[in-house]
């Protein structure tokens, strides 16, 4: 009784609807339509590497979405790196509480404490990025490993890994985090990032597995096999490069979704114990009734910054997708 993206269904996917392989993604289905097409464009990569890079730059620089998204993101990365240095005040330095936003305090000060919200937001961006990056790397690595192994080896290993994937999908992340965090009361940013990664990989594994299946059937892979190379070397040197653009997009999306998941955790007070992220700010704002007291500048600007960070990633993703995959370019 195989439904969904199981092997038997898969054969039809390969010929029928190509978009079906990279299914709806972790965050409510940012379904990655481009993937099927990008793989087809690969071929024997090395020989054309130089020309393709030039072509990539040509389209990249002319893609408005990519330029805008990447531009905004670059600003935030700058803030993440230098934020604590350019922050006008220390995070815990106090002023008269509840000051409205002004030139002295761009986002005002929070209510019972009187801390500068702008300085806290600048510092918070770093923590959110750290968790996003850690989550993306761990989820990406686990997802790729499981996906390649399942897709390449097939057979019982595939069955086993798919079972694992489906079980992880059905366990709600937040519920697990609550259990773990009650046990582990002193948590670090690393802990949060790794946790998000370790629970967020299933959709990557599914998509990569499906892609590996289609690539495995290509002639150049058969040639590589005939030449007697080891499986791991074929996967790394022949299969992965043909998915390079797709893998890159996966990391961009994982980065965005990890940051969003971290905001949820931090908001519920399940985040790292010693950090000051955007989610923490909203947590404190809500706990100290910023809503009822009308201290809107405590939670609206930091949340808006977070939203902008994620939107910029999504736009970058669409832009890159269009650059990699000519079919999607604006008509």
């Amino acid at each position: 009784m195989s439904v969904n993206i199981e092997p038997s269904g898969h054969k039809s996917l390969a010929t029928g609807s190509p978009a079906a392989s990279p299914a709806g993604l972790g965050q409510p289905s940012l379904a990655e339509a481009g993937a099927g097409g990008t793989v087809a464009g690969g071929g024997v990569a090395a020989a054309f590497a130089g020309r393709r890079r030039w072509e990539f730059m040509h389209f990249a620089l002319r893609n408005k979405k990519l330029m805008i998204g990447a531009g905004i993101e670059a600003v935030f990365v700058f803030v993440a790196i230098f934020g604590p240095l350019i922050a006008p005040y220390g995070v815990t330095k106090t002023f008269p509480p509840g000051l409205h936003p002004s030139l002295h305090h761009l986002f005002g000060t929070n209510a019972p404490f009187g801390q500068d919200v702008f300085s806290q937001a600048l510092t918070g961006v770093r923590d959110s990025y750290m968790v996003g990056a850690l989550g993306a790397v761990f989820a990406g690595v686990v997802g790729l490993a499981v996906g390649f192994a399942a897709g390449w080896r097939g057979g019982w290993l595939d069955e086993l890994l798919q079972l694992l994937t489906n079980v992880v999908i059905t366990l709600p992340q937040l519920v697990l985090m609550i259990v773990l965090s009650a046990y582990q009361t002193n948590r670090s940013t690393l802990f949060e990032g790794v946790f998000i990664g370790v629970t967020g990989w299933p959709w990557v594994a599914r998509a990569v597995r499906a892609q590996t299946f289609t690539l495995k059937a290509r002639d150049f892979v058969d040639l590589a096999k005939l030449s007697g190379r080891r499986a791991s070397s074929i996967v790394v040197k022949d299969i992965a490069p043909n998915m390079a653009s797709y893998i890159f997009l996966v990391f961009v999306l994982l980065f965005a979704s990890s940051m969003l998941v971290a905001v949820n955790f931090d908001f519920l007070g399940l985040g790292p114990s010693n950090s000051y992220s955007i989610g923490d700010m909203m947590n404190y704002a809500s706990q100290w009734s910023a809503l009822q007291l009308g201290v809107w500048w405590w939670f609206i600007p930091p949340g808006a910054a977070m939203t902008l960070m994620v939107v910029a990633l999504y736009i970058t993703n669409v832009g890159l997708d269009e650059v990699f995959n000519p079919k999607l370019r604006q008509q």
């Binding site: 978009a19 379904a31 989610g279 939670f299």
Partner: protein
């Protein structure tokens, strides 16, 4: 068959993790419970400790406790809540209607509307320029932020809707018109914050998928045969809906998490808010019971999605009847 095995394994793993909650937690549940009371005499304390241990069922070996837990799960018995001193199932039963009223319409409406509007936006420049940015902002907004924003604008500033709770505390809970109206009034904002985030995701996903489908060979062929634009779009839609459906299964966990955050922001008396209370009160048996319900709910929803997939995609039906195409 394989799907059934997956569900059984997932259920087993989840139940085992769930059983571990009070055991993993720092401190002994019996002592936490007793620390709530001011017991001065030592002999009394020891005697109480013994009674409570027996009533919690923690005076038997670990494997026996594990088996007892399974027995409890099968009988819908999750013990007594520390905090409310009422049966856990009873407390959960009061919270479930609120969570279902929030989640079911939010998931279904956002899925159907998002798919429709996303498909409409694909390859239609004017509409696309509206849908794409709005969809991205909704999808990128953290649940907590969107909920706080809605509460601030529509409850604190405009006073159109109440900022918290599930109904007016002055009205008795029951099937009276005044209660239903009050509950609806309190429902709007939490619903909107769960709905909007999902809606953004579905519409963007559908837009991308339909664009992709419109560029495939079968769509080109149809067009070259002179088929109407509407017909081509209809076929594209039907193919694009499939990955969206498996995406729904993947997104469920995220939506449930978002729902917990939303309920906390609005103090909406559903399961999410109950979880929050259970954590702050160290009420582990209640936590255990809630998780069991959430896990069963997610598994059931996944099962329904699997069935829907078979209904929608004839190819999976083929492989199910044994003819491995």
């Amino acid at each position: 068959m394989k799907k059934v095995v997956t569900y059984l394994v997932a259920f087993f793993v989840a139940t085992t993790v769930d059983w571990g909650i009070p055991h993993l937690m720092p401190g002994n549940p019996v002592e936490i419970y007793l620390s709530r009371f001011n017991i001065s005499s030592n002999t009394q304390y020891v005697a109480l400790q013994k009674t409570i241990s027996e009533s919690f069922g923690v005076n038997v070996p670990l494997w026996q406790q594990y088996l007892d837990f399974w027995k409890g799960v099968l009988h819908w018995n999750f013990g007594i809540s520390f905090y409310e001193t009422a049966p856990v199932t009873h407390i959960i039963a009061q919270a479930i209607p609120y969570t279902l009223a929030l989640l079911v319409p939010a998931i279904l409406l956002s899925y159907f509307l998002g798919n429709r509007i996303g498909a409409m936006a694909a390859r239609r420049k004017v509409l696309d320029n509206v849908v794409l940015p709005i969809g991205y902002v909704f999808q990128a907004a953290p649940y907590a932020w969107l909920a706080l924003l809605l509460a601030y604008v529509f409850a604190v500033r405009l006073r159109w809707f109440p900022p918290s709770l599930g109904s007016n505390p002055g009205i008795a809970v029951g099937w009276s018109w005044s209660f239903i109206l009050s509950a609806l009034h309190h429902w709007v904002l939490p619903f909107l914050s769960v709905f909007l985030v999902s809606f953004g995701g579905w519409s963007i996903g559908m837009r991308n998928l339909v664009i992709y489908e419109l560029e495939t060979d079968y769509a080109r062929y149809l067009r070259s045969l002179g088929a109407s634009q509407r017909l081509v779009r209809r076929y594209a839609y039907r193919n694009a809906v499939l990955p969206q459906l498996s995406g729904l299964a993947l997104a469920l966990g995220v939506v449930v998490g978002g729902n917990i955050v939303t309920e906390v922001v609005f103090q909406y008396p559903g399961l999410g808010h109950l979880i929050f209370l259970a954590i702050t009160n160290e009420d582990y048996f209640l936590l255990q019971g809630i998780f069991m319900f959430i896990i069963i709910g997610v598994l059931l929803a996944n099962f329904v999605i699997d069935i829907a997939y078979v209904v929608i995609d004839p190819r999976t039906r083929l492989s199910m009847t044994g003819a491995t195409a």
